[in-house]
């Protein structure tokens, strides 16, 4: 009996760990709930309930003995789709019975501590290339290609550095878009760039909360109204911060 209660506790810890990694890495709310329920069911606890919002997970399991409930707070969120995919494959492994509780624990702990992000330089390079390509896609001209590339890359770089310096996401987004606006303005003023609007739109794209918007919509459609609305609010605040940063440059310079 005591052994089984112990096992219920372990299974709960496993599910919560998986859920936490997924939520912190930008997985959709309904996927987090689905993964935790599936994992618990595959390990022998059929009766589980979970309530997931972007800022916390409440998970309760009714195994043998009294029902247990645990709350996990999520404070830091980033985007790391590889971790979502890895946790997903661990959950698939448990469902199909290929790995047991202990192995799953080891794998999840490993995933949690791994730093899977692309190298910093690659990320900045990707941001600059994406900016310049978006500038072309929005009917910009080729002679603005290099300015958009530089201001997009510097904008993303400053976003990361400001975020390390002041850990308030909206403020660092505001500052980053301000830097983008300023740089693009200087490029146009010195005759290196030509169309200010196109350069700014292209360079701002890496900061745009596209993932949040899609996730918010998917969550709302899956019936997670609280999670969907709060993600929508985050997306709105982010775009407002970007807009304010650009507006500052456009109106005062």
């Amino acid at each position: 009996m005591g052994n089984q209660v112990e096992q219920t506790k372990e299974i709960m810890e496993l599910c919560l760990l998986a859920g936490r990694i997924m939520l912190q890495s930008g997985g959709e709310t309904y996927r987090v709930e689905d993964t935790m329920t599936r994992m618990a069911a595959a390990l022998g606890i059929d009766n589980t309930n979970s309530y997931v919002t972007p800022t916390g997970i409440i998970f309760s399991a009714e195994g043998t003995g009294p029902a247990r409930t645990k709350l996990v707070r999520i404070s830091e969120r980033s985007t790391d789709l590889k971790k979502v995919a890895l946790v997903n494959s661990v959950s698939r492994g448990i469902s199909s019975g290929e790995i047991n509780l202990r192995q799953a624990f080891e794998q999840l702990n490993e995933i949690n501590s791994m730093n899977l992000t692309f190298p910093f330089k690659v990320q900045v390079a990707a941001a600059s290339i994406a900016s310049s390509c978006f500038m072309i896609m929005f009917n910009g001209s080729w002679n603005d290609f290099i300015p958009a590339m530089i201001s997009g890359g510097v904008g993303y770089l400053s976003f990361i550095y400001f975020h390390r310096f002041v850990p308030i996401k909206f403020f660092s987004e505001f500052l980053a878009s301000f830097v983008i606006g300023l740089l693009s303005f200087l490029f146009v003023k010195n005759g290196i760039g030509h169309q200010l609007d196109k350069i700014i739109i292209g360079s701002v794209m890496p900061l745009v909360p596209g993932l949040l918007v899609t996730n918010a919509i998917r969550d709302l459609m899956a019936g997670h109204l609280v999670a969907g609305l709060s993600k929508g609010a985050e997306a709105f605040l982010t775009s407002f911060a970007i807009g304010a940063g650009i507006a500052f440059v456009v109106s005062y310079l």
């Binding site: 590889k82 992000t117 978006f134």
Partner: protein, 149 residues
């Protein structure tokens, strides 16, 4: 020629976005292809009918259905393929224009543009919902086929 440039740039841009979202390395090319396909549909339809709403709807449905099928095939979460592809469709340029007009005290133009941005964002949402329905239908047809065999 213009279309080819658009396809190439959208492929690179969505692939680069895959890197920013830290998608697994082996899916980056597929992300790029999904995004390029969606943008091609948007670009051609938008140029042909001058109706951004219709073009966005078609492109969103294409991306969402394709990424669902890819996710099923490669056994990875859908979000990896769909997110990068949808980014180009987000009406960022128009939102910028709207905001710029607000700042310059031209509220009439700004509100018109803001309404359009809202319409386009709603269209993306509607496209995602619609594709969910299509996915359900595809799944049902497949299930029935399995049962008949």
């Amino acid at each position: 020629m213009d279309v080819i440039i658009q396809v190439i740039t959208s492929f690179i841009a969505t692939g680069a976005f895959g890197i920013l979202f830290n998608a697994p390395k082996e899916t980056l090319i597929k992300c790029g292809l999904t995004g390029a396909g969606g943008w091609l549909i948007y670009y051609v339809l938008n140029g042909y009918s001058e109706d951004a709403v219709l073009a966005t709807l078609a492109a969103t449905i294409f991306i969402a259905v394709l990424s669902h099928q890819l996710a099923k095939f490669y056994k990875t979460p859908v979000i990896i393929f769909s997110v990068a592809g949808i980014i180009p469709l987000v009406p960022g340029g128009m939102a910028y224009d709207a905001m710029r007009n607000f700042v310059e005290n031209d509220y009439n133009t700004a509100i018109g543009l803001a309404a359009k941005v809202f319409m386009l964002a709603g269209t993306i949402a509607f496209g995602l919902v619609f594709s969910e329905v299509i996915n359900h239908i595809i799944r049902k047809i497949n299930n029935r086929r399995v049962k008949h065999l």
